[in-house]
């Protein structure tokens, strides 16, 4: 398949990237600039509904995403999505509406516009691994992440459910590993790549999240990882922000910096810490990166 020389995408950052995950947004824009990939933010985009909407009202959740897809259709290029939850909701909407005439009619009425379901929704990982391609990605690497042992954490939503996201193999994906290995890093095989971190129970049932997230951190540490790489702001929140607290509860020390994939890939292309928002990370990555001579 031939690939276009100039890659242009519409971009749906999602609420987190404009708030708690500002460094994911920043590093995404900077990395794509370096890679020569155009990103045009969808004008007037709004919340995809995330976890709450589809738990309350399916029609509401489908309509929110359908409207965003309609807005995105006005911008040239496939839709690039950074957040795993937004990605999941947008893909689920496309999937559900493609299957059900009844729901399609309801949603069309609700958003008062014709549905635009044909556009491709792509997670950043797909754009890097497939559209750009690992060879071209590797060619853009100036500072290979040599010696850095990365535990790639997929969480629940990137590949699930079956036949909805179609990002990679549902239960045994390798796309994150392929991307970060192209940037010169070493990946570790580990057991909890696909386990749930507790997601937004972080606010309502923190005890549950602390237990689940601890299992993930414990497993990554046991596998010999230096750091964890994620593609979801919510996972990042639990693994990074809660890490200190978890260390206290279980009386252990992890000290595992939690990077967004764009931060690590960006680092490998030679972007500086200020362009990657490394200062926004709670678990300080500087000692690790200095030790590995990456800063």
């Amino acid at each position: 398949m031939s690939k276009p020389n100039i890659m242009e995408y519409s971009y749906y950052p999602g609420c987190s990237l404009h708030a708690s995950a500002g460094e994911y947004d920043l590093s995404t824009r900077e990395l794509f600039k370096v890679l020569g990939i155009g990103l045009t933010e969808v004008p007037d985009w709004f919340c995809c509904g995330a976890t709450p909407a589809h738990n309350v009202d399916e029609l509401l959740s489908l309509s929110l995403c359908a409207k965003n897809l309609e807005l995105a259709d006005k911008v040239e290029g496939d839709l690039a999505v950074a957040c795993a939850a937004c990605f999941s909701r947008l893909k689920t909407t496309q999937h559900v509406l493609a299957e059900s005439d009844v729901k399609r009619k309801q949603v069309e009425k609700a958003i008062d516009a014709p549905l635009k379901l044909e556009g491709k929704v792509k997670h950043l990982l797909e754009i890097l691994a497939t559209d750009l391609g690992l060879e071209r990605l590797a060619a853009a690497v100036n500072k290979p992440l040599s010696g850095l042992k990365v535990a790639c954490y997929y969480g629940c939503l990137l590949t699930r459910p079956t036949d909805v996201t179609n990002l990679d193999c549902v239960e045994a994906p390798t796309i994150m590993e392929r991307v970060i290995e192209a940037a010169g890093a070493t990946t570790v095989p580990w057991s909890h790549r696909m386990e749930c971190c507790g997601a937004n129970f972080t606010l309502s049932r923190p005890g549950v999240v602390i237990q689940l997230t601890n299992a993930i951190l414990d497993s990554a540490k046991a596998a010999g990882a230096d750091c964890i790489m994620v593609g979801c702001p919510l996972c990042h929140g639990n693994l990074d922000i809660r890490q200190k607290e978890i260390e206290g509860v279980y009386n252990v020390e992890y000290a595992l910096p939690v990077f967004y994939l764009t931060q690590l890939v960006g680092l490998a292309t030679g972007l500086g810490p200020d362009k990657l928002g490394l200062d926004a990370m709670i678990v300080n990555p500087t000692p690790l990166l200095k030790e590995k001579q990456l800063l």
Partner: protein, 665 residues
């Protein structure tokens, strides 16, 4: 002028519930050519058929239309009744007002109108039916059995015991199939080898069974009663006639570390080998990929030590052609390999279960080899990784089976029972061990099956946990199994020493290719299709080919043996006559119009079209035309659709008849 009789069936309520059958009989009675019409509750019953016969005689009917179910169901029944009343059976047609009408509609008024039209069409068609003489073909009373597992062995023995010659073809170097690999068998725990090997010996010694092992079907030509089968005999590199089976060659072979497929790659074998000590024939085969002689030209040790001089490096693959009258397909099953995601298949892998990565995660067949007295560990349950005895063992059922989202929706049928058996074998061998089983349902519908399953729990202390496993991973030398117990509603984690996956039963690899050679149909999983799910479960839709065992769907041993004997009985039925009567629904060429383009010959899937020379009285060639061999023609009609000059026609389906049917609408 035709005097057509029309008989409308109620099919109990199946038709009359949605179609006003009396009105259909009335309306149809008014059609030109129809001399008599009536309706009856069950036309196929004895009184129904008598009604038909009586009407033919009393009303002097010339053609018959029976409006009832699909002709696939009862066309033969009614044609036989018509014949008994003195009419040519092919002057009887069926109008399908059940599958095509009453079953698929709800509105009685509309369905009735449609039924009248369907019957009307058949009235127009039957008017143009010709009297057809029955075709007879000779029957070769020899059978081919493909596959030397328990199904093929049973079928071959039954047919041969009835006095007919059997050609048994097996792909592997020995017969025995998967049953020879099993340790003990449910529900009686008798040793598989003890009940299997005598049958294997019977095959080898039977005067009427010709055994071709290490051989494959290359080509199948012909038709029921008259097949020509080309069999490829792969070069064994050892002469079967002179080899005494002493085994010195195997002892001396310097290559020793080839994983033995028969032992699920747990044990090792030399490059010249028999798959297992009880193999039939007990003639070794050289694995040319791993043999030093074939790789480098050096060595040749086995030839030097062979007393009778049976080792032959020059041997080549050879082809033999056998004429047979019937074929039994018994190619069996394979287990789903979960670490391999088959290319181009809808089936998704099970990467989350670590099979192929974690050495102590094994499949059910590997456990059989571990438990088998003739296996690589001499019957001790030991971990492949470090040879330790596992003290906590987890069995997980339904791996691949009943998992629509993973690509297989069927139940593999044998796993519940063999897992229960595994827990018992484990308990018998590891007294201080604990077995856990994750299961969705326990499916034990067989004689003494449920009692067997209960025994594994009540007497053999297996802990059954209703729920599935989401993931497992290696932690130190343990395997952590994460699952759910849905009966209690809790998450379960078990630190196991060994995990056994009950992987799905699938058809043998290449089952689809064999089906294409045979011209039989198969389902989306490559299981072979029977002609009728209930009433013709061992016959293929292709005449003269029969099915036995797991190649048709997952089956346990008793069921497989039963089906194999049933297939043998069908073969015997075929062989009970010297001549075979065939339906004369075949294509005919209008030689005057045929231009000899042979487009029909190219499309004929059955090789029925031949070239025929037309000569004048002086013997000068006028032209070459197509000729359809009525013994071979299957009546599919492809030639009729292809012929550019409209000069091939299928009796009963001529253009004239089809147009008459359309015009009747």
């Amino acid at each position: 002028m035709s005097r057509i009789g029309v008989f409308i069936c109620h099919c109990g309520e199946n038709i009359s519930r949605t179609v006003d059958v009396e009105r259909v009989a009335q309306e149809v009675g008014k059609l030109p050519g129809v001399a008599f019409s009536t309706d009856y509750k069950y036309m196929c019953s004895d009184p129904g058929q008598n009604l038909l016969k009586k009407a033919i005689q009393d009303q002097k009917l010339s053609h018959i239309v029976v409006a009832a179910c699909s002709p696939r169901m009862h066309e033969k029944t009614f044609r036989k009744a018509v014949e008994a009343a003195g009419l040519n059976p092919f002057l009887c047609e069926m109008a399908n007002i059940r599958e095509h009408c009453s079953w698929v509609h709800e509105n009685k008024e509309e369905a009735t109108v449609k039924a009248v039209e369907i019957v009307g069409m058949m009235v127009e068609r039957v008017k143009k039916n010709r009297v057809l003489p029955t075709i007879t073909v000779p029957v070769t009373k020899r059978a081919l059995v493909i596959g030397g597992g328990i199904a093929g062995i049973q079928a071959a023995l039954d047919i041969a015991d009835c006095g007919h010659e059997v050609i048994l073809v097996e792909r592997e170097p020995s017969i025995g199939g998967h049953m020879a690999q099993l340790s003990e068998t449910f529900p009686t725990l008798d040793c598989s080898q003890c009940i299997m090997t005598p049958k294997m010996v019977d095959v080898a010694n039977h005067p009427r069974i010709k055994l071709y092992t290490y051989s494959e079907i290359e080509l199948v030509e012909g038709y029921i009663g008259n097949f020509q089968v080309t069999i490829k005999r792969k070069a064994r590199s050892v002469n079967e006639d002179t080899c005494t089976g002493c085994g010195v060659c195997m002892e001396k072979c310097p290559v020793r570390k080839i994983p033995n497929k028969f032992d699920c790659n747990l044990g090792m074998r030399p490059a010249i080998y028999v798959p297992f000590p009880q193999a039939v024939p007990n003639t070794p085969v050289i694995d040319r990929e791993n043999c030093i002689k074939f790789k480098t030209g050096k060595c040749g040790l086995c030839q030097k030590v062979c007393g009778p001089g049976a080792v032959d490096y020059e041997q080549e693959d050879s082809l033999v052609v056998e004429a047979v009258g019937a074929i039994v397909v018994a190619t069996g099953f394979d287990l789903y390999t979960i670490d391999e995601k088959p290319k181009g298949s809808a089936i998704k892998g099970y990467g989350e279960f670590g099979h192929g990565k974690i050495p102590d995660v094994i499949d059910g067949m590997t456990f059989e080899r571990l438990a088998s007295a003739s296996g690589p560990t001499g019957g001790k349950i030991l971990r492949p990784s470090d040879g330790r005895e596992p003290k906590q063992i987890v069995f997980i059922q339904c791996i691949g089976s009943r998992a629509r989202e993973k690509g297989i929706s069927y139940c593999s049928k044998v796993c519940c029972m063999y897992t229960a058996k595994h827990t018992m074998l484990y308990h018998h061998k590891v007294h201080d061990g604990q077995a856990y089983v994750f299961f969705m349902d326990a499916r034990t519908p067989g004689k003494s099956y449920d009692e067997f399953w209960r025994r594994s729990i009540e007497e053999e202390e297996a802990v059954y946990i209703r729920g599935m496993v989401s993931r497992l991973y290696q932690k130190g030398d343990k395997i952590v199994v994460m699952g759910s117990d849905i009966a209690v509603g809790v998450q379960v984690e078990i630190e196991a020493d060994m995990v056994v996956l009950a992987t799905a039963v699938q058809p043998q690899k290449g089952a689809d290719l064999l089906a294409q050679k045979l011209g039989i149909s198969y389902d989306k999983y490559n299981f072979y299709s029977e002609a009728h799910a209930k009433l013709r479960p061992v016959e293929c839709a292709t005449a003269g080919i029969y099915l036995a065992g797991a190649c048709q769907g997952p089956k346990d041993i008793p069921e497989t043996v039963g089906q194999a004997s049933a297939a043998a009985a069908k073969v015997m039925t075929l062989f009970s006559k010297d001549k075979l009567e065939r339906e004369p629904i075949v294509a005919r060429v209008k030689e005057s119009g045929c231009v000899g383009c042979f487009a029909c010959k190219k499309v004929c899937a059955y090789g029925a079209v031949e070239e025929k020379e037309i000569r004048d009285r002086q013997g000068n060639l006028i032209k070459t035309v197509a000729f359809v061999n009525p013994g071979v023609c299957a009546g599919c009609g492809t030639c009729q659709a292809t012929c550019p000059s409209k000069c091939v026609e299928l009796d009963g389906y001529t253009d004239e008849q089809v147009i008459a049917m359309i015009e009747a609408l």
